[in-house]
């Protein structure tokens, strides 16, 4: 683990988030699998052998992706301090991103359909660094996300700036 910014007290994401990631991967594989079968059926005669062959090929890949998704989800953690929010991610390539509150432009809570179904939300912290550097903390129970947002908005870091 990267031992900086005291990762010791970092919070893991909700266990349901792991399920969310796995479901997303499974859905993606399903879509690709169906597309492959359709292409196969259209190009040659629909042959049960080729469909079975395709499934045999996809199954271990799907398994690998699911394992990887689960492990990455478990590796994500966040840590809220008085002045900044840190987000840890990555399994083989670990990364920590730290967003100081004094540089926050605005905060958003977003919920996709899957997230809504599982009662989760993503907290997004926007700075002036551009869209690709938005600090996004996924897999938060809705209540936690709102509590975090309130805590950040009321934090010393922001009120001092004003």
């Amino acid at each position: 683990m990267i031992n900086c910014f005291s990762e010791g007290d970092a919070q893991a994401l909700a266990p349901r988030y792991t399920w969310l990631c796995c479901i997303q991967v499974a859905l993606l594989c399903l879509v690709i699998g169906v597309a492959a079968i359709v292409v196969d059926a259209v190009s040659t005669e629909l042959d049960l052998h080729s469909v079975a062959g395709l499934l045999w090929l996809l199954a271990p890949i799907l398994l690998l992706l699911l394992v990887f998704a689960a492990v990455s989800a478990r590796a994500k953690r966040y840590s809220l301090s008085e002045h900044h929010m840190s987000f840890y991610s990555g399994v083989l390539f670990q990364q920590v991103a730290v967003q100081p509150f004094t540089r926050l432009q605005h905060i958003e809570i977003t919920r996709g359909p899957l997230e809504r179904a599982l009662g989760l939300a993503t907290l997004k912290l926007f700075s002036a660094g551009g869209a690709q550097h938005t600090l996004a903390i996924p897999g938060l129970p809705m209540a936690d996300a709102e509590q975090l947002r309130g805590a950040i908005l009321g934090s010393k870091g922001l009120t001092d700036e004003q």
């Binding site: 390539f93 540089r103 700075s127 660094g129």
Partner: protein, 502 residues
């Protein structure tokens, strides 16, 4: 300041027409497609003329429609602008959000003494708004109103800031900081070739030149094919070299012409907390950037600059992502072809306690080279070997040349990579043959990232990434403790400084 929608002067139609044409020409794809289409279909001169006239008429019509639909109201503290032919857009531009106000005078407005006032805003939904064909007095009045409004808003913060900066006291008169001679601008044009895109347009035309060239050569009584068949390798190589040199010379001339058009008679002023640069031969451009809004200072030196012992300095405010590329260029202030000592002086003018020469740099780990070898040089060499396998003479030469070139390039890059700190400032270094430095005050950091693979962890190395409002700076493979120190310096400065990053 009426509270009714005001239209611009009818002369603004010319500005909209020219702007429309520029947008069209900037989509190189369109120009290339048009040129290719024209050469493929073998239009006669008459047909081309008809199409050109048609295009011009359409352009003027579109500009007229746009002009009729354009109106603005200046209210205390903000602009309301109504524009758009099909989509009726209403843009609200509060003065506080206006990051940059520039006054341009295109050459076709000079006889009328009219100008174009351009304003762009910071923020996530930024647009550039241009009020065309205003009289110079009106434009300066609006500029003054905006400046006054913003000054009043930032009075308290600005006082605290100048006290902290402890640097240049704001003089009542605008002070001239820098001028560039025509020689400097020509050097810049030579060192930074802006004409390469013409290559894409020229290629189909060059393909057409084949037959007329042949005819010319025959007319001169030379038998070209015979000559080429019997000429020695040396002569052919010499001819090829001559052609390439001629082409490069032509490109350079064009680039110099472009540089002179844009940067002639360049002057940099400092006036009440704002840097202003005026330049331009036919069109007179003026760009302003508030001192407090500068995020990074860029020191840019290409290999040709290195030979001439010059560099370019760029004052970078926020990156405005949605604005088109060349409009973005006008927001940064580029100071071409200056000397190292001029850079240090200007840097000290911006950052009173920054001494560029005393920054201690540390380089990047040798692992960078190992990584480059494994992931770039080796695969590329193998690919080259495979491709050259059938050719007898090149079989060994090609992969060797590829390997040496890539490895050499990576070594040059590795030598330049580095990061250093000097007081409250951080400088990231990179480059190839020339050098590039990015200097910024630690408290301007928006976000800090550290990346470390398991492999690097064991070696105590990490990649540092600092996100600023103008750009993101990455320093790969530096000592982990050093990365942490710099990251913490930036975070502490951002969090604890009461200073606004703007």
């Amino acid at each position: 300041m009426s509270s009714e929608w005001q239209r611009l002067s009818p002369v603004a139609v010319i500005y909209f027409a020219v702007r429309g044409l520029m947008h069209l020409l900037n989509t190189y794809a369109v120009v290339i497609a048009a040129v290719i289409a024209a050469s493929q279909f073998g239009f006669s001169a008459q047909q081309i003329a008809v199409y050109v006239v048609l295009a011009v008429v359409l352009l003027l019509l579109g500009s007229l429609l746009y002009y009729l639909n354009f109106a603005y109201i200046q209210e205390p503290g903000r602009f309301l602008i109504r524009h758009g032919i099909f989509s009726k857009n209403r843009t609200e531009l509060p003065f506080g959000k206006i990051q940059n106000v520039s006054v341009k005078q295109p050459f076709y407005y000079r006889p009328f003494n009219l100008v174009v006032l351009s304003m762009d805003s910071a923020g996530s939904s930024s647009r550039e708004v241009a009020l065309a064909a205003l009289s110079r007095e009106k434009a300066e009045l609006i500029q003054g109103t905006i400046a006054q409004f913003n000054e009043r808003q930032e009075e308290g913060a600005a006082q605290a800031q100048t006290a902290c900066e402890g640097g240049v006291a704001d003089a009542p008169e605008p002070s001239l900081l820098l001028t560039r001679s025509t020689f400097d601008v020509v050097l810049h044009g030579l060192a930074h070739n802006r004409a390469w895109f013409l290559l894409a347009v020229a290629t189909p035309l060059l393909a057409q030149m084949d037959r007329p060239l042949q005819q010319m050569v025959e007319a001169l009584g030379l038998d070209a094919s015979d000559f080429l068949a019997h000429a020695s390798m040396l002569v052919l190589a010499g001819l090829a070299l001559l052609c390439v040199l001629g082409f490069v010379f032509l490109m350079s001339l064009l680039s110099v012409a472009g540089a002179v058009l844009a940067l002639a008679d360049l002057k940099l002023y400092y006036d009440r907390g704002t840097y202003k640069r005026t330049s331009g031969l036919l069109n007179r451009y003026e760009t302003q950037v508030k001192k407090s809004r500068v995020q990074t200072l860029r020191y840019q030196q290409s290999w040709l600059d290195l030979v001439a012992k010059r560099l370019n300095m760029v004052l970078e405010p926020f990156a405005v992502a949605t604005v088109a590329e060349n409009q973005n260029m006008m927001q940064k202030i580029l100071l071409p072809s200056i000397s190292h000592s001029q850079f240090c002086d200007l840097a000290r003018h911006l950052y009173a306690d920054f001494d560029f020469n005393s920054v201690n740099f540390s380089g990047v780990s040798r692992l960078y080279l190992l990584r480059a070898m494994v992931f770039l040089v080796l695969p590329a060499t193998l690919a080259a070997a495979v491709l050259a396998a059938h050719s007898d003479s090149w079989r060994f030469l090609t992969p060797v040349v590829v390997a040496i070139t890539l490895a050499g390039a990576m070594i040059l890059r590795w030598r330049r990579l580095g990061v250093g700190t000097g007081g409250r400032y951080v400088v990231v270094r990179r480059g190839f043959i020339g050098r590039e430095y990015f200097c910024f005050a630690a408290h301007k950091a928006q976000q800090v990232k550290i990346r470390q693979s398991l492999f690097l962890q064991r070696r105590g190395l990490a990649t540092l990434e600092i996100v600023l409002a103008s750009r993101t700076l990455t320093v790969p493979l530096i000592d982990q403790a050093h990365a942490l120190r710099i990251a913490e310096q930036c975070l502490r400065a951002s969090e604890l400084s009461k200073r606004s990053w703007m």
